[in-house]
C-alpha cells in the first residue's frame, strides 16, 4: 500500500476518533455551572469591622474574582492582603494577593484573585491599620464545570496511542518497501 494512502487513512482515523470522543466528552460532561451571584458579608478582622464582597459566590475556578473590602469606619487608611488557602480535600497551593486602595472616600480596598482548583477554599483577609493587624477567614467552595467520568478522560487521553501503535506497524512495512527499492 502506498505511503500516501496510509498517511491519509491514519489522519482520517485520527480525526474521526477525536471528533467522536470530544462529542462524547460534551455529552457526558455536564455544562451546568452553579449560579454565581455577588455576595457581601460583614467581618471582624481583629479590631476592624469591614464589609467583605465577592463578585461571584460560589466562585468559579480559574476565573478572575474581584474582592472588595470596605471598612465600616472611614478614614482608617487600611492596608492588607488576601491569602487563598486550599481547604480540606483540595489539592492546591496557597497564594497571596495584595489589596490596593480604590481611591474612594470610604477607604475601600480591592483585589482580583483566582482559585485554580474546585473544592473548599479559605480566603484569609489580613488588614493592617492604626490599631495594629487583624485577620479573618471566609470559607468558599469553588465551582467547576461538570466532571466527566475518569474512564472517559483516560479513553480520550490515551486514544492517540492507538494511532501511534498503528503508525509503528506501518512504519515497519514502509521500511521493508524502502529497503527493497534500489
Amino acid at each position: 500500500m502506498e505511503i500516501r494512502v496510509v498517511v491519509m487513512r491514519t489522519f482520517v482515523l485520527a480525526l474521526c476518533s477525536t471528533v467522536a470522543l470530544l462529542a462524547l466528552f460534551l455529552a457526558t460532561g455536564a455544562t451546568a455551572w452553579a449560579d454565581a451571584t455577588a455576595s457581601t458579608q460583614t467581618l471582624a478582622a481583629g479590631p476592624y469591622i469591614v464589609d467583605f464582597s465577592l463578585s461571584q459566590n460560589p466562585p468559579p475556578v480559574d476565573t478572575p474574582l474581584i474582592v472588595t473590602v470596605i471598612p465600616r469606619q472611614s478614614g482608617l487608611r487600611l492596608q492588607g492582603y488576601i491569602t487563598t488557602e486550599p481547604g480540606l480535600g483540595t489539592d492546591a497551593t496557597t497564594q497571596r494577593f495584595n489589596l490596593s486602595a480604590t481611591g474612594e472616600a470610604s477607604g475601600a480596598l480591592q483585589t482580583t484573585i483566582h482559585v485554580p482548583v474546585r473544592g473548599a477554599w479559605n480566603l484569609v483577609l489580613t488588614l493592617t491599620g492604626p490599631q495594629g493587624q487583624g485577620t479573618s477567614k471566609v470559607s468558599v467552595t469553588a465551582a467547576a464545570p461538570g466532571a466527566i467520568p475518569v474512564w472517559l478522560g483516560w479513553l480520550i487521553g490515551a486514544s492517540p496511542l492507538v494511532i501511534v501503535t498503528f503508525w509503528i506497524w506501518r512504519q515497519h512495512l514502509y521500511k521493508r518497501s524502502l529497503v527493497k527499492t534500489p
Binding site: 491519509m8 482548583v117 483516560w154 479513553l155 490515551a158 492517540p160 496511542l161 501511534v164
Partner: protein
C-alpha cells in the same frame, strides 16, 4: 571521419536553470522551516523541564505559569509554521513547482501536499494544543498533584513525542534528498548540517524522556514498591543510539548524542533553578515545601549513564564498518544488542540518582514492613526481564525508524 559537435540549446539551458532555481527555492523553504522548528523544540524542551520543577517547588497556581507560556508558545509556533508550510507546499504542488511533487511530498485528505515529517509534526502540535484546555479542566477538577499520569498529560506528551519524531523525519528527509541528488555538502565530524539537526532532535527526544521519567508509575507487589522509571530510560537509550547509527551510518553518532544531551541537561540545570527563584520572587509566590531549587549535579550529569551503551554501540558500528558489514543486520542481533547495553543503564542510573530522588533505588520496601524473600526474588527477576525486553524492543524499533529516516525522501 564523423565529427561530433555539441552546441548548447538555448531553450533547454533556460529550462535547466529555471528548474535548479525552483528546486533551490523548495529546499530553502523547507530548510528555513526546520531550523526554526528546531529552535521551537529547544524552547518547548526547556519549558517542559521548567514546568516539572515549577510543579514540584511552587505548585500549579494557574494555567498561564511562565513555563506553560514557554511550552504553549512553542506548540503554537510549530503549529502555525507547519500550517503555513503545508499550505505553501500544497499551492506549489498544484502549480507544478519544481521540487514539490509526488516524489517529495505525501497527500493528505486528497488535496494537501507536504513532506511526511511536516504532516507528522503538525499532527503532534495539534494533539498537544487540543490537550491543553482538557488538561486545565482536569486540574480544575482534581487539583495540582495529578502528576504526569493524568489522561491529558499523557495526550500532550504523546503529541509532543509525535511532533519530535516528525521533526526527525523532516531533517532526515532533507539529508536523504541531499544524498540522493549527490549534492556535496560540507561536513563536520563526518556529518552534514542536516544530519546534525536530526541528531539534535534525537537528543531533545532523549531529554524529553528524562523530563518525566521519574514520575513513571510505581507498582506495588505485596510490601515492595517497584519504580518503573528504568523503562523509559532504557527505551530511549537503545532506540536513539541504534536509530542514530542507522540514520547516519557513522560510528560515533551515539557518543555525539550523549554529548548533546549532557550539554542540554547542564544548561537546563543552570537555568531552571534560577528561573524558578526569579519567578517566585517576581510574582510574590511561596515555595510549597520551603525547599528552594538549586543546581543539581545528579540531574546535570545524568546523561553519563548512557556513556557505556554509547561506546558499545559505536564500537560495534565501527567493527561492522571495518568488516564492510551492515550494522545490526538481523532482528535477533539487534534485540541482543539492546539487551546487552541495558544493564549498564539499569545499574548506573540508580547510583547517579541516589542524591536526586527517593525513587532511585527502583526496589523500595515499604517503611517498617518486611519483604518476604520470595517477593524479592520474583520481583527482581520479572522486572529485570521486562527491562531487558524493553531494551531489546527499543533497539529493534530504533533500527526500523533509523532505516526509514535514512532512506525516506518524502
Amino acid at each position: 571521419m564523423a565529427h561530433l559537435d555539441v552546441y548548447p540549446v538555448e531553450g533547454a539551458s533556460r529550462e535547466i536553470t529555471s528548474r535548479t532555481t525552483a528546486s533551490h527555492t523548495e529546499r530553502k523553504i523547507r530548510r528555513v522551516s526546520i531550523w526554526l522548528m528546531l529552535f521551537f523544540l529547544f524552547q518547548g524542551g526547556l519549558g517542559a523541564v521548567w514546568d516539572r520543577e515549577w510543579h514540584a517547588y511552587v505548585g500549579r497556581d494557574q494555567f498561564w505559569t511562565p513555563p506553560h507560556t514557554l511550552i504553549y508558545s512553542c506548540v503554537a509556533g510549530v503549529g502555525l509554521l507547519v500550517l503555513a508550510l503545508v499550505l505553501l507546499e500544497t499551492a506549489r504542488y498544484h502549480r507544478g513547482a519544481e521540487g514539490a511533487n509526488d516524489a517529495s511530498t505525501v497527500r493528505v485528505f486528497g488535496f494537501f501536499h507536504a513532506p511526511l515529517g511536516f504532516m507528522i509534526t503538525g499532527f503532534g502540535a495539534l494533539l498537544a494544543l487540543v490537550s491543553a484546555p482538557l488538561d486545565n479542566y482536569w486540574h480544575e477538577l482534581y487539583g495540582i498533584d495529578v502528576a504526569m499520569w493524568a489522561p491529558f498529560h499523557l495526550m500532550g506528551i504523546t503529541g509532543g513525542m509525535i511532533g519530535i519524531f516528525g521533526l526527525v523525519y523532516v531533517f532526515a528527509g532533507e539529508a536523504a534528498l541531499e544524498r540522493k541528488e549527490g549534492n556535496p555538502a560540507r561536513r563536520w565530524l563526518g556529518l552534514t548540517a542536516l544530519e546534525w539537526g536530526a541528531l539534535l532532535v534525537l537528543a531533545s527526544m532523549m531529554n524529553f524522556t528524562l523530563t518525566g521519567f521519574l514520575q513513571f508509575p510505581v507498582a506495588t507487589i505485596g510490601t515492595l514498591d517497584v519504580s518503573s522509571y528504568l523503562l523509559p530510560l532504557v527505551m530511549s537509550c537503545t532506540f536513539s543510539f541504534v536509530s542514530a547509527q542507522r540514520l547516519t551510518r557513522r560510528p560515533g553518532a551515539s557518543l555525539l548524542l550523549v554529548g548533546m544531551l549532557l550539554i542540554n541537561t547542564i544548561v537546563i540545570e543552570i537555568f531552571i533553578p534560577w528561573a524558578i527563584r526569579t519567578g517566585v520572587e517576581w510574582q510574590g509566590l511561596t515555595y510549597r515545601a520551603s525547599a528552594v531549587p538549586v543546581f543539581s549535579w545528579s540531574y546535570a550529569f545524568l546523561p553519563l549513564v548512557f556513556l557505556i551503551p554509547a561506546l558499545v554501540v559505536d564500537g560495534l558500528a565501527l567493527r561492522s564498518q571495518r568488516r564492510q558489514r551492515e550494522f545490526g543486520r538481523t532482528v535477533p542481533g539487534l534485540a541482543l544488542l539492546g539487551a546487552l547495553i541495558t544493564p549498564a543503564v539499569a545499574i548506573l542510573a540508580p547510583l547517579i540518582l541516589l542524591a536526586y530522588s527517593s525513587y532511585a533505588p527502583v526496589f523500595l520496601p515499604q517503611p517498617g514492613l518486611e519483604v518476604p524473600p520470595g517477593v524479592w526474588i520474583g520481583s527482581v527477576t520479572v522486572f529485570s526481564l521486562i527491562v531487558l525486553g524493553i531494551g531489546a524492543l527499543g533497539a529493534v524499533l530504533g533500527a526500523d525508524f533509523g532505516e526509514v529516516w535514512r532512506r525516506n525522501v518524502r
